[in-house]
């Protein structure tokens, strides 16, 4: 092959003996027609592929709003024991959207993490931090035990044994209008510092928080302006 073959070859497809060549067709014209055909096909394919892909991947970038829900009155809870409350995590899917929160009053003697309006009552999620099975509170042992792979958490929800990689998740709680409201979930590391919610199995100590990024909104404090009104007591009017 000559070093500079472009100079030597003709610009007509017929001269080069290309298949389907006809008189007067240049190589440039053929390349242009090829590009237009492939481009049009690509645009047509992208017109249905991209929306379908976005449709399937959209939920990754979406965050469901979490509404506050009433879980009881302040007198329902003590510092010494957990009360089991069935809560709704996802609306409209029946039993599959329900979960359990273990709630007690904050005890300054043992709850050494910083105190603010969101943790006057401690609400632990029953979702095991190992792989998401529901833990159960065993009153005699003052421990949470997971039935699936033997994770054990102490009274504060910190890992006491087994495979879990971080303490039990918690929920924001708020005392308003004489009721206790339960808000969004948040995750904690082994020092009970707050982090944006993570899925089970994702450690938060050391580089864990960078290996497992949280979803796009990382607002640490939930808005408190959409509290539902407390239920009306029968016989008091309104």
């Amino acid at each position: 092959m000559p070093a500079d073959r472009h100079k030597q070859s003709s610009k007509y497809t017929a001269d080069r003996g290309m298949p389907g060549a006809f008189e007067g067709e240049t190589v440039t014209r053929r390349r242009f027609m090829e590009a237009v055909t492939h481009g049009a096909g690509g645009i047509a394919a992208a017109a249905f592929t991209l929306p379908a892909l976005g449709f399937a991947l959209g939920p990754i970038f979406k965050r469901e709003p979490f509404s506050w829900q009433i879980i009881g009155k302040p007198d329902d809870f003590t510092e010494l024991n957990y009360v089991t409350k069935v809560i709704t995590i996802v609306q409209g899917v029946g039993e599959a959207g329900k979960s359990i929160a273990y709630v007690r009053k904050r005890d300054p003697a043992i709850d050494t993490e910083p105190h603010d309006q969101f943790n006057k009552f401690i609400a632990l999620s029953s979702r095991c931090a190992h792989l998401g099975c529901p833990v159960r509170y065993v009153e005699a042992a003052e421990e949470f035990i997971c039935p699936c792979h033997g994770g054990v958490y102490n009274f504060r929800g910190e890992v006491a044994g087994g495979p879990p990689v971080r303490p039990l998740d918690r929920f924001y709680t708020l005392e308003r209008n004489g009721y206790i409201y339960l808000g969004p979930r948040y995750s904690v590391n082994s020092e009970l510092q707050r982090f944006a919610p993570r899925d089970p199995g994702e450690p938060l100590d050391g580089i864990g928080q960078y290996l497992y990024p949280s979803r796009f909104d990382t607002s640490k404090l939930p808005p408190t302006n959409n509290l539902p009104l407390p239920p009306t007591v029968p016989g008091t009017g309104s």
Binding site: A56, L57, P59, I60, K62, R63, E64, I89, V90, G92, V93, G94, E95, A96, G97, L131, G132, C133, P134, C148, P197, R198, D199, P200, G201, E202, L211, Y212, P213, S214, R215
Partner: protein, 262 residues
């Protein structure tokens, strides 16, 4: 018992006389005409001959049928799955569980077809691993069949994904919690894990669309991919031929193998 009159061949005709066409011969003729008509236009018989009548090495045994067995397990899953879809309802509010109960308790042969699909899934996984073991221990993955092996591994992964997504569909306690755990295992992959989990669940929590998502992946997305890859796998098997069992010595020219007595 005498043959029915219709099937009895008539007596041979007198010399010089055209025999009337017997109904069976007429039917055979008609059938052949249709087949010929199609084949003349499609040339399908060529391809079928290429696929079905090929040379195989000496010494092959029953272990070589494991691939076909896996293929038939896949076909069985496809057929039973299509018919289960006629009665199944991917409804999180208890409708999915109820529809499975309906299939098992009320639908004619429902429990049987559901059982075929359920147990067939395990059978298919077992057959795949046996097939894979045969290919591995016979060295059949070596040149020029590496791509066949790679596609086979992709098919294995897709089959496992079928098992994972299908496990949720009965929507009882076991399938629900197994899926929660399974999705969370996916979450533990660094960096990408949380996004994989969100993609599988269709959101940050197990929600309204998770079940229909799993159902669509289980019965549309993966089966389509698998059918295409199985086609390519079979094409490669036919194109490259089947490898001989490892204990079969290559036949060498006599001059080389001749033993010289000293």
């Amino acid at each position: 018992m005498p043959l029915p009159k219709l099937l009895k061949r008539p007596a041979p005709p007198s010399p010089g006389q055209e025999a009337p066409l017997h109904p069976i011969d007429a039917a055979t003729e008609a059938g052949l005409t249709v087949v010929d008509w199609i084949d003349e236009r499609t040339q399908l018989s060529q391809g079928l001959r290429w696929l079905m009548f090929r040379k195989v090495p000496k010494g092959i045994n029953w272990a070589y049928t494991l691939g076909s067995a896996t293929l038939f397990a896949f076909l069985s899953q496809a057929v039973t799955g299509v018919f289960l879809a006629m009665y199944y309802r991917p409804d999180v509010n208890g409708g999915a569980y109820e529809s499975i109960r309906n299939i098992n308790d009320n639908v004619f042969l429902g429990q049987f077809v559901h059982g075929m699909h359920k147990w067939g899934a395990s059978v298919m996984i077992v057959l795949i691993f046996l097939h894979m073991a045969r290919v591995f221990f016979f060295g059949a993955y070596k040149y020029p069949r590496e791509l066949t092996w790679i596609i086979g591994v992709v098919l294995l992964i897709l089959t496992l994904a079928m098992g994972f997504t299908g496990y949720l569909l009965p929507f009882d306690q076991r399938s629900y919690w197994a899926t929660i755990v399974g999705v969370n295992i996916n979450n533990t992959a660094p960096f990408l894990g949380p996004y994989i989990g969100d993609f599988l669940r269709g959101g940050p929590e197990f929600g309204a669309t998770t079940l229909s998502r799993f159902y669509a992946i289980h019965m549309l997305l993966i089966p389509g991919l698998m059918a295409a890859l199985i086609g390519f796998h079979l094409y490669l098997v036919t194109k490259l031929g089947i490898s001989a069992p490892p204990w079969l010595k290559a036949h060498e020219p006599e001059a080389v193998t001749e033993v010289v007595e000293v």
